[in-house]
């Protein structure tokens, strides 16, 4: 194991973390707002990838796809919220969780029905198709782009939440929706907005991941497994917990590859299990589930 291979794995790990962060941020924000773990988040990610494939085919522009796919999925997300969470507003949150699980099942099957079971390839955008050489370190520039993109999104979300009126609305409604309503806040609109935003983020992650992980129907299943791990290990509702857990998870996987080779998955999952042993509600989680 050389410094080069270490640095290589580190960066690859960070680029995977970037995808995980983008998916999981939306998931944890939706939980923070509505106390529902949105099972459809995985298929929304997949839809983002599929839509971006279609849009690239239609327009030839990866960047246009990156812009439009999340918007389309945001609309679908609002539909999901409308039919699975709103009608069950006075039922326990776990029931809403199961309703999203049912919908996720349906949506994945629709994807398979319409697009088939095969994988589609999306080529890297021309701007980032080459590799970058820093000394003897050779990295695909797209991976670096992923890291930068995720950083920018994190910054944007952080700024939105901390510095803007909208952000204050979101934070207040997440903390105490009843009091927010007493202060004339249309809490339903705020919830739907966060749901749409979270869905858009998932779709963005899917569109960004498409050139790297290919577009296939089980990508929703695969990512939701990771996303659940990340958001719970980080602490449901905690944004920095999500980022931290995503980095831990992906680095455990990528560095684990160097350490134990093909058993890196086992190492990763054991590290995550260890995290839960120490922090049963996640690193930055609340002590009692809301």
């Amino acid at each position: 194991m050389t410094w080069i291979s270490l640095a290589n794995q580190l960066i690859l790990g960070l680029s995977t973390a970037a995808i995980y962060v983008l998916v999981s941020l939306g998931l944890t924000m939706i939980f923070g707002m509505m106390n529902v773990l949105n099972f459809t988040h995985g298929v929304l990610y997949a839809l983002g990838a599929y839509f971006s494939y279609l849009l690239v085919k239609l327009t030839g522009s990866f960047w246009l796809a990156l812009l439009i796919a999340p918007l389309l999925v945001a609309l679908i997300g609002m539909l999901v919220e409308h039919i699975s969470i709103r009608p069950l507003a006075d039922r326990p949150h776990l029931i809403q969780f199961l309703a999203t699980f049912a919908l996720a099942l349906v949506i994945e099957q629709v994807i398979r029905l319409v697009a088939g079971n095969d994988a589609y390839a999306v080529s890297l955008p021309v701007a980032f198709a080459q590799t970058l050489s820093l000394g003897s370190l050779v990295i695909p520039s797209y991976r670096l782009f992923l890291i930068v993109a995720a950083l920018m999104v994190c910054l944007a979300i952080g700024t939105l939440l901390a510095k803007t009126q909208v952000g204050a609305l979101i934070r207040a409604t997440s903390e105490d929706p009843e009091m927010a309503a007493l202060l004339r806040v249309n809490t339903r609109a705020v919830s739907t907005t966060v749901f749409a935003g979270g869905s858009a983020l998932a779709a963005l992650a899917g569109a960004l991941a498409a050139p790297v992980f290919s577009v296939h129907p089980s990508m929703g299943e695969e990512i939701i497994t990771m996303a659940f791990l990340v958001v719970t290990a980080g602490g449901l509702g905690s944004l920095r917990g999500t980022v931290l857990a995503a980095i831990i998870l992906s680095q455990a996987s990528s560095l684990g590859l160097l350490a134990v080779g093909k058993y890196s998955d086992v190492l990763t999952i054991c590290i995550m299990a260890a995290v839960f042993l120490v922090w049963p509600t996640g690193i930055f989680g609340r002590t009692e589930g809301r």
Binding site: A168, A172, E175, L182, R184
Partner: protein
């Protein structure tokens, strides 16, 4: 009082908390511009009555009308937007928002809101940036009241504003609430009978989920037996 004068009117309101029949036919009227108090021992349903105005507890029977219009079926935020504000018993300051953000949120982003809040409570000026969970009880209470007032409501419901406060702060708040006279309509819930009789025009005494007496401060003073029975203390 005829219906035309009453700003808020509850007619035989019944409400439940789960299986418990908390409000058993509450009727009261609040005239525009008046300060009305809701009195009674702990657990008689005073807070529930306030909550029922916003539909925060399910109302099984009865009618609640604001400015002559029924509030049935409206969501809490829609009711708030009609011009009713509430200062809840536990204040419920948003802990992740600063004092300034709390105020701006309540005022719908209006830029002069903070100045307005400072007019009510000059002390707020000193800790505008402080997050909500780092405020003392008194500071929270002042913020909670300021929050309600910057929304420029027609009616304010205030639940136990003086509870657990140091006398100096309590006095400050008493003064501010007294200054509301004539400016807006207030429904006040509190344990301090002497103060309530001083600041409010009309009193509703509750017991076991319904109103057992209502009248002016004088009427109340002339009825020490009632005070003893339902309010548990000598006036």
């Amino acid at each position: 009082m005829s219906d035309g004068e009453a700003l808020l009117r509850l007619d035989d309101v019944h409400a439940h908390y789960g299986l418990s029949h908390v409000l058993q036919g509450v009727s009261l009227e609040v005239a525009a511009g008046a300060i009305v108090s809701l009195m009674g021992r702990n657990g008689v349903g005073k807070t529930t009555t306030l909550k029922s105005v916003f539909g925060l507890v399910p109302v099984r029977a009865g009618r609640i009308a604001f400015a002559g219009e029924s509030l049935a079926g409206l969501r809490a935020y829609e009711i708030a937007r009609r011009g009713i504000a509430m200062v809840p018993e536990d204040r419920r300051i948003f802990s992740t928002l600063s004092v300034a953000e709390n105020i701006l949120l309540a005022a719908g982003g209006r830029s002069d809101a903070i100045a307005e809040a400072i007019e009510w409570f000059p002390g707020l000026r000193n800790y505008l940036r402080r997050p909500g969970d780092q405020l003392s009880g008194g500071e929270q209470q002042m913020l909670a009241i300021a929050r309600a007032l910057v929304a420029r409501p027609r009616l304010v419901l205030i639940d136990e504003p003086l509870e657990g406060l140091a006398p100096v702060i309590a006095e400050r708040i008493e003064q501010t609430l007294q200054d509301l006279r004539g400016k807006m309509t207030v429904v006040l819930v509190d344990q301090n009978l002497k103060w309530l009789m001083q600041v409010a025009d009309h009193h509703y005494v509750m017991d076991h989920g319904c109103v057992v007496f209502h009248g002016t401060s004088d009427a109340l003073r002339q009825n020490p037996a009632l005070i003893e029975q339902y309010l548990g203390v000598a006036a």
